[in-house]
């Protein structure tokens, strides 16, 4: 069967199956289980209405359970076994991780990423949002800054590989060094700092995201509160920090935590740029590295990442819900 027909069939069966499920289950509920007739008609209608939401949510709940909830417990269970899955080794994988210097480097680097990238992206996004707010060409500036959002992490990494290229004919950094008479060097091999050169790529991508959300939040601030502050004698800086920022604090936290969660998941940049070499390893790329020569520890790493992400995610969701209200 040609892949095209196969694809079309999949879509038809998938969408048709969904529609069919909702329609058929609804009919069964209303006509067979709790029919809207007979002596108990009122009670039947009420019961059908109480059951209906659960009926409609069932497929989603089942899918989430199968693909999200089960894997969490499954992974944890799996991480307690060796590579073949035959021998139960308890926390053996975790103790191996703790002893591995590369894992500790990855943990430390990840900590740096979480510290720097969300803060810098949010700060720059806020700065751009505020500075472009009243400008006539502000929207053009914003579009340009937003553009990297549309580039995949691997694509962005390739672009920055050119920026960091050792050949002064290609890499802008070495071109500048060359112009100033310095010998070329590979920025990605400069110990410790190379981590930050990699972070720049993600900041470059995520600033646009932060800017768009925060720009909308800034516009949502009532003009009158700003005018009241002007009359109260506040300077532009005081208005920004004491009137505007506190009013959009909820949004800032949501942006911050959203980027934090993303940072904990990103492996493409490190994988593409350095492959985790030169002391740039982070947890996701470390996990990828062990996935195919696993002694069972990749699942353990996955679980460690989940444990780290979990509190940030909870905070993120709590904040986002509060914003909606």
């Amino acid at each position: 069967m040609s892949p095209l027909i196969q694809g079309l069939l999949t879509i038809l069966i998938g969408v048709g199956g969904c529609v069919g499920y909702f329609w058929a289950s609804n009919v069964v509920l209303d006509k067979v289980v709790f029919p809207a007739k007979g002596p108990n008609i009122g009670r039947n209608i009420n019961r059908a209405n109480a059951v209906r939401p659960w009926l409609f949510m069932l497929p989603a709940l089942a899918a989430l359970g199968l693909y999200l909830v089960y894997p969490v417990f499954g992974s944890f269970w799996r991480s307690l076994f060796n590579r073949s899955g035959a021998d139960f080794i308890g926390l053996g994988n975790y103790s191996l991780l703790m002893q591995d210097g590369e894992f500790r480097t990855a943990l430390f680097n990840n900590f740096l990423w979480v510290l720097v990238v969300p803060a810098l992206s949010t700060f720059l996004g806020l700065l751009v949002a505020q500075l472009t707010d009243k400008l006539r060409w502000g929207n053009i500036a914003k579009s340009l800054i937003f553009m990297p959002m549309a580039i995949s992490f691997v694509g962005a990494s390739l672009i920055w590989k050119f920026v960091y290229a050792v050949d002064p004919e290609i890499g802008i950094i070495n071109a500048m060094r060359d112009a100033m008479g310095f010998a070329p060097l590979d920025p990605l091999q400069v110990g410790f700092w190379n981590n930050f050169f990699l972070m720049v790529i993600l900041v470059w991508i995520q600033t646009g995201f932060a800017m768009v959300i925060l720009s909308a939040a800034l516009r949502g601030i009532p003009d009158e509160t700003v005018e009241a502050a002007i009359i109260d004698g506040a300077s532009p800086a005081q208005i920004f920090f004491r009137i505007k920022i506190p009013q959009i604090m909820g949004t800032i936290v949501v942006v911050w935590t959203t980027i934090t969660i993303l940072v904990l998941k990103v492996f493409d940049i490190v994988y593409t740029m350095t492959g985790g070499n030169f002391g740039t390893q982070i947890l996701p790329s470390y996990m990828m590295e062990y996935m195919f020569r696993d002694d069972g520890r990749a699942t353990a790493v996955a679980f460690v990442i989940m444990i780290i992400v979990l509190p940030v995610m909870v905070w993120n969701i709590v904040q986002a819900r509060r914003e909606v209200r």
């Binding site: 009158e224 509160t225 005018e227 502050a229 109260d232 506040a234 009137i243």
Partner: protein, 367 residues
């Protein structure tokens, strides 16, 4: 504390769209001046120009004898109360009121004293540590007023402060503002509203704005009793003053007028000159000044078209078949309840002292 003087003040946007021009106004110390006018007449813009939130395109604005055109709002000695309250949502009531004083780097003790005094005056003491969202609309507006009071401004500016409140609260807060004004007899206040009752009850003087300028300035009763033109006559008072086309048939100390429609003659205490005889005019009579009469000496006879019984008063609507005035409805407001009156033909007249005469839109009193 301070007087306010506007000389030839004008406002244009982008050098093209003119919204206000040639505004001349003297506001004395201790006055409460109310700006009223139809929506879009620029009354809020004028207030914002006094506040310094809008640039003054032309003319000068003086506060306390000092030209403040280019002075930032905070140095003009003004405080403003906004329609939407404009409270800082992340600050408690106390912080809201203290903000301006903190910016001005006053000492903790001074700030506490000023805030507590204002809270006392506005019955906000129990709410000082609450956030604005935990307050009712009336309380929020009191906080907004408190935020103005603590700064001890020379001039208070109110931009439709009661418009966001429901009817009952509006009355209560209106009385509070009147009491506040009484407690601070030296403070000058400028108040923008579209609500006539607020204007009539609060104002020392009312400024009616229309057509980019000032239509008339005067005490509330001045404007009610002696409007200088048809616009003010119809703007002040509700329902609006009836205007009926007619002709001057007798001149002198009193003027005798004949109405085109449904009418006999009526006299007005407005004097006229001999050459006015035969002039086309509009005769203005307020609905509440219309009196039903049985006699032959009536100004207007018409068939009652619609009756609105409000209990306290009854509004009668008369349709004029082919009137030359803008509105072809004449309204009479009679005291008490009048039932079974619809469809009947009534004769109406008015006391000569209540009859206004307008020629080309201008009152004969002001020519």
């Amino acid at each position: 504390m301070a007087n306010l003087k506007l000389t030839d003040v004008g406002k244009t946007y982008g050098g093209k769209v003119e919204v206000l021009k040639d505004i001349d106004l003297d506001i004395e110390t201790g006055e409460l001046v109310v700006f009223v006018g139809p929506s879009g007449c620029g009354k809020s813009t004028l207030l914002r120009m006094i506040a310094g939130l809008e640039k003054i395109s032309s003319g000068t604005l003086e506060i306390d004898g000092q030209v403040v055109n280019d002075m930032p709002p905070s140095q003009r000695g003004i405080a403003m109360v906004f329609q939407s309250y404009a409270l800082y949502p992340h600050m408690t009531v106390r912080e809201n009121m203290a903000f301006a004083l903190k910016i001005a780097k006053m000492s903790r003790a001074e700030i506490d004293e000023a805030v507590n005094a204002a809270a006392e005056k506005l019955q906000l003491t129990d709410y000082l540590d609450r956030l604005p969202k935990a307050l009712s609309g009336g309380q929020r507006q009191r906080v907004a007023i408190g935020r103005a009071v603590v700064r001890k401004p020379k001039v208070y500016l109110f931009d439709e402060p009661l418009s966001n409140l429901d009817a009952a609260l509006r009355v209560a807060t209106r009385i509070e503002i009147a009491q506040l004004k009484e407690a601070m007899p030296d403070s000058t206040m400028v108040y923008v509203t579209h609500d006539q009752v607020e204007a009539m009850t609060l104002a020392t003087r009312i400024v009616v704005l229309a057509n980019k300028g000032i239509a008339q300035v005067g005490t509330p009763l001045d404007l009610y009793e002696r409007p200088n033109g048809e616009f003010v006559a119809q703007f002040i008072g509700s329902p609006a003053m009836n205007l009926m086309a007619g002709e001057i048939v007798g001149t002198g100390e009193v003027t005798t007028l004949k109405l085109d429609e449904g009418g006999g003659t009526i006299t007005s205490v407005v004097p006229s000159r001999p050459e006015d005889k035969g002039a086309r005019v509009n005769v203005g009579i307020r609905p509440e000044d219309m009196v039903a009469t049985e006699g032959d000496d009536y100004a207007f006879a018409g068939t009652v078209d619609i009756v609105e019984a409000l209990g306290e008063v009854t509004l009668l609507y008369f349709e004029l078949p082919k009137a030359e005035t803008d509105s072809n409805t004449v309204i009479a407001k009679l005291n008490g309840i009048h039932s079974g009156i619809r469809g009947r033909t009534l004769r109406l007249t008015a006391d000569p002292s209540k009859v206004h005469v307008f020629r080309n839109g201008v009152s004969l009193l002001y020519r």
